[in-house]
């Protein structure tokens, strides 16, 4: 499902060069649950963004579902993000001016270009599934952290993505709601056969994955 070959990421600041990823090779099968562990600043977020067609590597190739994503045009790559990938971030990243329902509908609206039935009913169904059925018209500011994260997960699922990429999805939550989030993600992984990649600091969470990738000094151990 996901394949990376010789991925390097180097940040240049003037004459200064900061290599963050130094040759990452990995392969993640369809339906697999993989966690990525590593110290802060190791490049976990960077790697996740590169795997998610969001950030071009300085060097190397990434294949998503068989196609070389950074060889695609911008609009094709955006389409891949829209249809194939669901992102979940540590800071939820919901749009503050929109209600939970509108936020969740958004990826559906981008792909279908119409507000008719489809995305709305799917978004309602998903918000019900994550336990926010009664909070459809609340803005993110009116939701707790855990609730916002559940809305963000519903948003990530709205287009039935083949891959879920989560960057410390529980990083800002207490352990109770954090566990709820991981349970939810795991359920999607098992029931929808979605490939799940979770970046985390917590060994507790990492242990639940089929496979743990440890990243250190820009390389996988």
């Amino acid at each position: 499902m996901i394949k990376a070959k010789g991925v390097h990421k180097i940040y240049t600041n003037g004459a200064e060069k900061l290599p963050v990823l130094k040759g990452i090779d990995l392969k993640i099968e369809k339906g697999e649950f993989v966690s990525v562990l590593g110290p802060s600043g190791a490049g976990k977020s960077t790697l996740l963004h590169i795997l998610g067609a969001l950030d071009e590597p300085t060097q190397g190739v990434v294949y998503l579902d068989g196609s070389d994503v950074y060889g695609l045009t911008d609009s094709k790559r955006a389409q891949a993000r829209n249809r194939l990938i669901g992102f979940v971030f540590q800071f939820y990243h919901l749009l503050p001016e929109f209600t939970a329902l509108e936020n969740v509908m958004l990826p559906g609206l981008i792909s279908s270009q119409s507000a008719a039935g489809g995305p709305r009913s799917r978004a309602k169904e998903l918000l019900g599934l994550v336990g926010l059925g009664a909070r459809l018209n609340h803005k993110p500011g009116q939701l707790s952290g855990g609730e916002q994260q559940r809305a963000a997960i519903a948003r990530a699922l709205v287009n039935k993505p083949a891959v879920l990429l989560c960057d410390e999805p529980t990083g800002n939550l207490d352990s109770e709601s954090g566990k709820g989030i991981i349970d939810l993600l795991e359920r999607v992984n098992k029931e929808e056969k979605a490939t799940l990649v979770v970046v985390t600091h917590e060994a507790q969470i990492a242990k639940r994955a089929d496979r743990i990738l440890k990243i250190k000094d820009g390389r996988l151990e």
Binding site: H49, G52, L54, R81, R83, L106, N159
Partner: protein, 194 residues
């Protein structure tokens, strides 16, 4: 002057002075090439070409004013783009492409420009109409100098559309740079932190 009782010219008074050009054409056709028909605008050619020049100068000045307003639109949009960097990143992460992001800001700028132009156009037309009805020359005590008590006003639909059209087009152009900038923004930086 030795002409005796010969007639050198005939004055024609018409109901609608604005139709003079058309009537001149008819008269010229009816009278033939041996006669020379001149309208009041022909007779005051210098005055009218001065007014025409003034109109062109006004157009340039107004265009400059619109240009300044458009820099305002561009500035506002650039601020919005900076403010919304995170939201742009979020939209990109859920699959918005560059042209989609661009459309958002072009639309916002166009909306500002169109609403502004329309309000300005309507106010201007209303003011001009009111000026035509209000005896301003008399109120200013100038009817001794001029032969009329109010300023003659004619609102040309063509001019009206030209002004509004120009304003909208310039504001559209003003949106392009900020919108392009937004579409090229690197979404990742904004997503990394809160």
């Amino acid at each position: 002057m030795g002409l005796g009782s010969a007639i050198s010219g005939v004055g024609v008074k018409i109901d609608n002075p604005l139709k003079a050009a058309a009537i001149k054409k008819d008269l010229q056709k009816a009278l033939g090439y041996r006669y020379f028909v001149r309208t009041w605008t022909d007779m005051n050619r210098n005055l009218f070409s001065a007014i025409k020049l003034e109109k062109a100068a006004m157009f340039i000045i107004l265009t400059l004013i619109i240009l300044v307003a458009c820099f305002n639109i561009a500035g506002t949009l650039i601020m919005t783009v900076i403010e919304k960097t995170k939201d742009i990143g979020i939209l990109k992460s859920i699959g918005a492409n560059r042209s989609g992001i661009m459309k958002i800001f072009v639309l916002q700028g166009l909306l500002i420009g169109a609403i502004g132009s329309l309000i300005g156009g309507i106010c201007g037309a209303w003011l001009a109409g009111a000026l035509g009805r209000y005896p301003i020359v008399e109120k200013l005590g100038l009817q001794e100098i001029y032969y009329f008590d109010r300023l003659p006003v004619k609102i040309e639909l063509m001019d009206f559309t030209l002004v509004i059209g120009t304003a909208v087009i310039i504001s559209l152009l003003a949106t392009l740079y900020p919108a392009w900038k937004a579409s090229r923004l690197d979404p990742v930086e904004a997503l990394r932190y809160e």
